[in-house]
């Protein structure tokens, strides 16, 4: 008798659907940002001076802080999954909460950065450097938001009636995504702020 239960608990690879699917998705995400990085390199070689000047207008300090914030969130994300996997509900909740805080912190700092640029009327159309800068960081920020939503949902769920331990795979999948967002930033940070 083949039933949904039957095949849906069938993991031929030994990796559960959530994790496997997430990895496939992440593979495509890598290619998505590849497009931007490709464009960045080409445009940089075409307008080196513009890019150098632009990069020097960016706020390294803030960006460094933001990097730290994001790394922290990555850590707590990993820990929260670990906690849930081991059945420590309240730890899970705590770490997830910190992760969400960090995510908001990151977005806050980013919007501060944007605001600063706008106030010096620097906009995406100012020059090619800022076009790439706003596009890349913008899409990265969108990814952060995309991660926040399920996190908040999970937190809410676990507050109401505790998050089911056997569903820790979902948290793991989300974690994978979150670490990837962190990874992207790890590359964006030197590319946009440092190497010039």
């Amino acid at each position: 008798m083949s039933t949904l239960a039957a095949t849906h608990s069938r993991f031929t690879t030994g990796i559960n659907h959530g994790k496997l699917g997430m990895w496939v998705f992440l593979a495509s995400e890598i290619m998505f940002f590849s497009g931007f990085f490709g464009a960045f390199i080409v445009l940089r070689n075409l307008n080196l001076d513009v890019f150098t000047a632009g990069a020097h207008q960016l706020d390294k300090v803030v960006a460094t802080i933001n990097t730290a914030v994001l790394i922290t969130s990555s850590l707590t994300m990993a820990l929260s999954h670990l906690a849930l996997e081991r059945g420590h509900q309240e730890k899970f909740r705590l770490f997830l909460f910190i992760t969400i805080l960090c995510a908001f912190g990151f977005l806050g700092i980013k919007s501060y950065e944007y605001a600063a640029k706008f106030s010096h009327d620097i906009y995406p159309w100012t020059n090619t450097f800022f076009a790439t800068y706003f596009t890349m960081t913008g899409f990265h920020a969108l990814h952060v938001i995309g991660g926040l939503i399920p996190m908040i949902w999970m937190l809410g769920k676990s507050m109401v009636k505790g998050y089911p331990v056997e569903m820790h795979h979902r948290v793991e999948a989300l974690g994978l995504y979150w670490h990837f967002v962190d990874l992207v930033w790890i590359f964006l940070f030197p590319t946009l702020y440092l190497i010039f």
Partner: protein, 614 residues
């Protein structure tokens, strides 16, 4: 889903898991079969839209500036001039939307969306996709995108009008319709990525017990490989689109060099410093693989159909699989062959020519293996078979014309001429679309639980086949004559005037071809309700979907599935009939044989000649 639900599905085995509300079942369904049907009907609808556009294009090309018969004067004044002839502006929009719709809203949804969704779970013995909800989302993004793409109709400036390739600066300085086009494509891309994630996970994780990767039918292999191409290629298009959107909407200049002299738009905000060719590289990095996205599933379906109706094992199964893989890998390394004349460094022209030539080899392998499959077969020319057979020879023509263009010096002359248009349609219509016809007829009994009308099917095939060649073969000659693509009125040029009779010939065929498609739709709709009920396995095929009831209930199979052998054991001496389903266990087989022996023995007593009994 529990035993109870299953059993009463048998009572009314019309496959509708009845407990669901209309909305859950027909609209926001998460059942892979329903989603496949949704993809199918939406895409066929778009086939007619895109086709109608093509017919307008054809009319203008054959009779430049003459009013469109019958409906000409009824059309809005933004499309046609006072006496009802296509205007240059609308023509450009028509060809853009024709290409975009046919590729993104017809072929890909039919091959990947429909066949992928319908065939994969059934053919690997799973009862649904790994992520049914994701599956639903990926469908609903598609009509949404379709609507957005067409919405340009109602805006001033009309729809997108820079070709389906949307080369900037033209596309970057274009009307709002172009912006919508960009958004729509982004959504469609996202939809196919979600689909790809689903397919890959399902194929890797949910195969029935006993089914090794190399027990999978070619269709599954093909869609699986296609899904991999999508995961690699489509995101790059997405990022390119994102940048084009910025250029088009926020006046950035990723693709815009300094100080363009443009009247149609205020460029004061645009800083410049961009590189138009960058778009072409990113676009083709996706869109060449995309053309293989549009053929591989077709190749898979055709391989299955050929083997089934030749009653013969697929020739060189492993070679076929490796050929698929090779096409996928190389396919991502040849994008430059669309840019030979683009002003890119000619050295790249050389390298991309070599890689392009090389990638034709796996296609050659497949072609010859199809021939091998038919060799000493016992072919039954049912409708699916006819279409599959047509696919092979039409694809060969399309592929061979590809070789002309792959040769850079020849491409100097035929680039952006109707030779290309001929190539496009031989591979996309003669290839993909015939494969789609084959697949749709092949699985129609399983989808609907009824048989289609064989007579209508054959009429549709023959008319389509003949007028198809009548429409698109002469295009090669137009191309040799030097007729450029995307031109509104060829008679402007003296050297094109002699070609005009051929344009008229093409158009007449195109119109017949177009209306012939109504036969297909009529046949399907009529048979869906009136056709005679289909048995579980009307084609006497081996693969798993034919073990399930027609149409399969929610959850697909009413018996435990275990796979004992590959999908192509036709005419195997081991079996009693001329086919041997993947699910028949060795002991079961032994039993069948025993019974068969007994029957033969009895017949010999009655001293009747064996043949007649067989």
């Amino acid at each position: 889903m529990d035993a109870a639900l299953h059993t009463d599905q048998h009572l009314h085995g019309n496959g509708h898991a009845h407990r669901e509300s209309f909305l859950r079942h027909y609209v926001f369904s998460t059942d892979h079969k329903m989603i496949a049907k949704q993809f199918m009907f939406t895409a066929i609808f778009f086939l007619f839209v895109g086709g109608a556009f093509a017919l307008f294009i054809r009319w203008q090309l054959a009779y430049p500036g003459e009013p469109i018969p019958l409906i000409g004067t009824l059309l809005p004044s933004t499309w046609v001039n006072a006496d009802g002839a296509v205007t240059a502006e609308w023509y450009t929009q028509l060809l853009t939307m024709h290409g975009s719709i046919m590729i993104f809203a017809v072929i890909i949804p039919l091959l990947v969306g429909t066949f992928g969704n319908f065939a994969i779970p059934l053919m690997i013995g799973a009862d649904d996709m790994a992520f049914p909800f994701l599956n639903m989302v990926s469908f609903w993004l598609f009509p949404l995108a379709g609507v957005i793409m067409m919405a340009g109709f109602f805006m001033e400036g009309g729809m997108a009008a820079s070709g389906w390739t949307a080369y900037p600066p033209l596309s970057a300085i274009a009307s709002p319709g172009q912006t919508l086009w960009i958004v729509a494509l982004f959504l469609i891309g996202f939809s196919s990525i979600l689909g790809a994630v689903n397919y890959i996970t399902t194929v890797l994780n949910m195969r029935a017990p006993g089914m090794k990767l190399f027990d999978m039918p070619m269709t599954v292999w093909a869609v699986f490989v296609t899904a991999i191409i999508i995961t690699i290629g489509t995101p790059v298009l997405a990022s390119a689109l994102a940048m084009l959107f910025m250029d088009n909407f926020l006046h950035t200049s990723f693709f815009l060099p300094e100080n363009l002299v443009v009247a149609t738009r205020d460029m004061s905000r645009t800083a410049g410093g961009g590189q138009p060719l960058l778009w072409q590289h990113l676009f083709w990095f996706y869109s060449h693989p995309a053309v293989y996205i549009m053929i591989l599933p077709g190749m898979g379906v055709v391989s299955d159909v050929l083997s089934t109706f030749a009653r013969k094992p697929l020739y060189g199964y492993k070679a076929m699989v490796f050929a698929l893989a090779a096409i996928a890998l190389l396919g991502i390394l040849v994008w430059g062959h669309h840019m030979f004349q683009s002003g890119m460094n000619p050295l790249l022209g050389t390298t991309f020519m070599v890689s392009t030539m090389v990638i034709a080899v796996p296609s050659a392998i497949k072609t010859f293996n199809w021939l091998g499959t038919m060799w000493r077969g016992k072919m039954e020319f049912t409708v699916p078979m006819l279409n599959a057979v047509a696919f092979v020879s039409m694809f060969v023509i399309g592929g061979l014309s590809g070789i002309f263009m792959a040769s850079t010096p020849v491409d100097v002359f035929i680039h952006d001429t109707y030779f290309i248009v001929g190539h496009i349609h031989y591979v996309l219509f003669g290839g993909s679309l015939f494969a789609i016809f084959a697949g749709l007829h092949y699985w129609f009994p399983k989808m609907s639980g009824r048989m289609f009308s064989d007579r209508l099917g054959k009429w549709h095939f023959w008319i389509t086949f003949v007028t198809f060649n009548g429409t698109f073969f002469p295009m090669h000659i137009l191309g040799v004559g030097g007729m450029m693509r995307r031109i509104y009125d060829p008679t402007v040029y003296d050297f094109l005037k002699p070609l005009q009779p051929m344009n008229e010939f093409i158009t007449i065929n195109a119109i017949i071809l177009g209306f012939a498609q109504i036969l297909l739709v009529y046949n399907f709709i009529h048979s869906w309700y009136r056709g005679r009920p289909a048995k579980r396995n009307p084609w006497r095929a081996n693969t798993l979907e034919w073990v399930a009831p027609s149409p399969p209930p929610h959850g697909n199979f009413d018996m435990p599935i275990h796979v004992y052998r590959g999908p192509y054991e036709y005419s195997s001496p081991a079996s009693v009939q001329d086919y041997l389903p993947q699910t028949v266990s060795p002991d079961e087989l032994a039993e069948q044989r025993a019974r068969h022996e007994q029957r033969l023995a009895r017949q010999n007593e009655n001293s009747r000649p064996v043949e007649t009994a067989l």
